[in-house]
């Protein structure tokens, strides 16, 4: 080996040359910046599907992914076209978006804000994704929404039910099709009053994060308005899998209704624990003890099995709906995957189509143009009846379903029945409602 002499002068020289070499290219390229982040220049456009593939909400995430793949198929003119045929806006022609073929990349949020942001960032920075869609937790949705705002891409939220997503954490680049805690409360309270009377004492178990907090607040407010009393609210960690220690005190609290503000695996476990403790066979205060699960999903109901029988909850959408949009979506989803879609799948499918349609109508992928096309957009035919994307907070307003666990399910997907379709007018609220106050949309950010 030769002798290497490292001198101060030598190091300075090499450093200067290397520095100049690295800096040189920036002189030529700095000015060639695009008009907005990830402007698609070739014949394709890339969408980013960021869903939980591991963790407590993995089931939901995988179903979202199925729906998103289906949406891409329909946008590219493959398959039977699904909701493109029933959608009230006819801008989409099945030739991709603005003539560009739609591609997609996927990532795993792990139901953790950090991991979700890392995977969204890699989609934006590495794969050139122009829009991020999906997710199954409000904490993650809020984190990713903030990221998309900074990066200058559109975020089409998936399943996120916290009031904060379009309340105090709302962002100009973020849009939510799914309903929220306030809407659940407004839809459930009258049904609960009819079913269980107005003289009830409720005990809340709440998942300890933004969604749990705001849903609990909403349900407590709505039920108190019909005469119920809230006995206690206990926060449980999201990562908990055994809830027996939380259920035992319910029996001694004098409450006669248990409200489970849980979702996904949490809800399956807590409901199962509650049934094992025999809560629903008890008589308290001379009344039958009841359990309420404000936010339902088919996947949870399937996981909880016979435990959901007779339990009331609310949903954004259900595959049993008989309007044209729902039928078209359920048909294509069923043909491709051999099972009915969940409501998280439906919201991600609708969001993907809504985004594509907004691009077509705006004639650009520029996030500011797309946002403008979505704001105040009235549409129908995607399965939820006539819907409005409100400009003030980027929240969709539509009918809400009140569901009940079926007593005699005929198969594993037939676990819930629709009790009532609560009309849109009943779940509407002012943009500055106290539960949603404190946020600011800010200005749309096209990035770059």
């Amino acid at each position: 080996m030769s002798k290497t002499d490292v001198t101060r002068r030598g190091v300075l020289k090499t450093g200067a040359v290397a520095g100049a070499g690295v800096a040189l290219p920036t002189i030529f390229t700095a000015s060639s910046a695009a008009a907005y982040t990830n402007e698609p220049t070739g014949g394709t456009v890339t969408l980013g599907f960021n869903v939980p593939q591991t963790g407590p909400y993995a089931e939901e995430g995988l179903d979202e992914l199925r729906a998103q793949e289906l949406a891409v198929e329909h946008l590219n003119g493959m398959g039977d076209g699904g909701c493109l045929n029933t959608f009230s806006s006819k801008a989409l022609k099945g030739n991709g978006i603005l003539g560009k073929k739609v591609q997609f990349v996927t990532g795993d949020t792990q139901t953790k804000s950090d991991a979700a942001r890392a995977s969204a960032k890699s989609m934006i920075e590495k794969d050139g994704a122009i829009m991020i869609n999906g997710g199954s937790s409000s904490g993650v949705a809020i984190a990713v929404q903030g990221l998309c705002q900074d990066a200058g891409v559109i975020f089409m939220a998936g399943l996120t039910h916290s009031n904060d997503t379009t309340g105090k954490d709302k962002k100009a680049n973020g849009f939510r099709h799914f309903f929220n805690g306030y809407m659940s409360g407004a839809a459930l309270a009258p049904v609960l009053k009819n079913a269980y009377g107005s003289d009830r004492r409720a005990y809340h178990l709440t998942a300890d994060y933004t969604w749990g907090w705001t849903q609990q607040e909403s349900i407590a407010a709505a039920t108190e308005a019909v005469g119920w009393e809230t006995v206690n609210n206990v926060l449980t960690p999201l990562a908990a899998t055994d809830f027996s220690s939380y259920i035992a005190p319910v029996l001694n609290s004098g409450a006669d209704v248990l409200v489970l503000n849980h979702y996904g695996g949490n809800m399956v476990n807590s409901l199962t624990n509650a049934i094992q403790f025999g809560l629903r066979d008890k008589m308290v205060n001379g009344k039958q003890f009841e359990i309420v699960v404000p936010l339902y999903s088919e996947l949870m109901a399937a996981g909880a099995g016979s435990n959901v029988q007779g339990v009331i909850g609310s949903m954004n959408w259900n595959w049993q709906l008989q309007d044209e949009g729902s039928k078209a979506f359920v048909k294509s989803f069923g043909e491709k995957y051999g099972r009915p879609p969940s409501n998280s799948a439906q919201t991600c499918y609708a969001q993907t189509l809504l985004y594509a349609d907004a691009c077509e109508r705006a004639g650009t992928f520029n996030p500011c143009g797309v946002a403008e096309a979505l704001e105040g957009f009235e549409f129908d035919g995607l399965g939820n009846g006539p819907t409005l994307y409100r400009a003030d907070d980027h929240q969709c307003f539509k009918d809400v379903l009140v569901m009940k666990g079926k007593d005699n399910p005929t198969n594993e997907y037939d676990t819930l029945e629709i009790v009532e379709v609560t009309p849109r007018a009943q779940v509407e609220y002012a943009p500055d409602h106290p539960m949603f106050a404190g946020g600011d949309l800010g200005k749309c950010n096209p990035g770059a």
Binding site: F104, T106, D108, S113, A118, E125, G139, Y209, T210
Partner: protein
């Protein structure tokens, strides 16, 4: 030069070259080719390489030199992040205020936790640090501290973010509203197109890389100092050291604090790249990850932890993003039945199965290369040398294990 011997200068130069040219080295495949999936030269991942490199270097100072295995280092990572985001919220987006504070605060916490935990050694020390970290995770995950004082401290599971309603008293009129260093915005990137390749030069990455180099240099100095020798003495025979009349505890406490400060700095940099601090950063899985990084790279070696950090982050970010569609593209040249069979075989190891792939590789490394990736490099170098002539067979390779 710089108070280092020749071998260490070579090593430092090697790391510096790797860091400076990372955008080229990590992007070996042209855009749009099937292999582009394996490119890692995008800002977010490069930043992570540098940041987790710092985290692992700091952890290695404690674990590699003294042998004390801390299972709670992620707590300091989280503290660093919270400190920086709070500075964004109170002052402005300049990262200069937050980073020193992150180092100081995590140092203070390390002093407290280390003072208690270091009364025990071995497994008891590990359990104590783990307990502290989990406690702090629980506190920040539910924002118990915030609830106690009636305001937001960590913002629970959602994570601490900056809102337009925050005071930000130093915020100037034309100041960028993302993290920056005196106007140098961390998110900014310059692109260089060479043929089919696109290389990204990101401000945030180079900032982290420079910090990483400084921290690497510092760790080399600690390794080579009398203090470092003392720490190694603790590892090889603690009892004997006590018999000779030396009290090892001040040394272990000092290195515990230093390593906590490294972790705090890494956490601060994470928030400097992405203005959000989440509680998951403090979870035990994150503490375990840095242990894996260090062992995978080579415990007690200088460069090992950096390699290990890069290795794990690469798997987490690249393998988890390969889905069945990508697989079908790769194997599309095969006949249909075979293609599906291949996809079926590979499927468990990609996408959500990246943990499995990493686990298998970790097992292989630990079984066949107990000294980590560094040992692999040394064996390779020795093999090449013996092929070349065998004259210099007995000379030790240039990259230096601690023992």
């Amino acid at each position: 030069m710089l108070g280092l011997n020749k071998k260490d200068v070579t090593l430092l130069t090697f790391v510096a070259v790797l860091a400076l040219f990372a955008p080229f080295i990590l992007n070996p495949f042209p855009e749009g080719s099937a292999m582009a999936q394996f490119n890692a030269g995008y800002p977010d991942l490069m930043q992570r390489f540098a940041i987790f490199g710092i985290f692992a270097i700091g952890f290695n100072l404690l674990f590699g030199l003294t042998g004390y295995l801390s299972f709670g280092h992620a707590a300091f990572l989280g503290i660093g992040s919270y400190a920086v985001v709070w500075m964004y919220k109170l002052l402005d987006y300049n990262v200069l205020w937050g980073l020193p504070l992150a180092v100081v605060i995590s140092g203070i916490f390390a002093l407290g936790i280390g003072y208690v935990s270091l009364r025990r050694s071995g497994i008891y020390f590990s359990i104590l640090t783990l307990a502290f970290a989990q406690m702090m995770f629980a506190i920040s995950y539910s924002d118990l501290l915030g609830r106690f004082v009636g305001t937001t401290i960590t913002n629970g599971e959602t994570g601490l973010q900056v809102y337009t309603s925050d005071p930000q008293i130093l915020l100037g009129a034309n100041e960028p509203n993302t993290p920056h260093l005196f106007g140098l915005v961390m998110n900014n990137s310059f692109f260089l197109e060479v043929g089919a390749w696109q290389f990204t030069f990101n401000v945030g990455y180079y900032f982290s890389a420079i910090v990483m180099l400084v921290m690497f240099y510092l760790s080399v100095r600690i390794f080579r100092s009398p203090f470092g020798l003392m720490l190694r003495a603790i590892k090889s025979n603690n009892t004997r050291m006590s018999y000779t009349g030396l009290n090892p505890r001040p040394y272990t406490l000092a290195v515990f604090v230093i390593s906590g400060m490294y972790a705090g700095l890494a956490g601060g940099l994470m928030a400097a790249m992405d203005p959000l601090a989440g509680a998951e950063r403090m979870q035990w899985t994150a503490s375990g990850e840095v242990v894996l990084m260090t062992i995978l790279g080579g415990t007690g070696t200088l460069i090992g932890p950096v390699l290990g950090a890069g290795f794990i982050k690469y798997f987490e970010n690249i393998f988890s993003k390969i889905n069945d569609n990508v697989l079908h593209q790769w194997f599309s040249f095969m006949p249909d039945g075979l293609e599906d069979a291949m996809v079926f075989i590979v499927h468990p190891f990609i996408g959500k199965g990246w943990h499995l792939t990493l686990g298998i590789l970790f097992m292989l490394v630990v079984i066949f290369l107990p000294g980590g990736l560094v040992e692999g490099g040394q064996r390779l170098a020795a093999w090449i040398r013996s092929k070349r002539g065998g004259a210099e067979e007995n000379t030790k390779s240039s990259t230096e294990p601690a023992e």
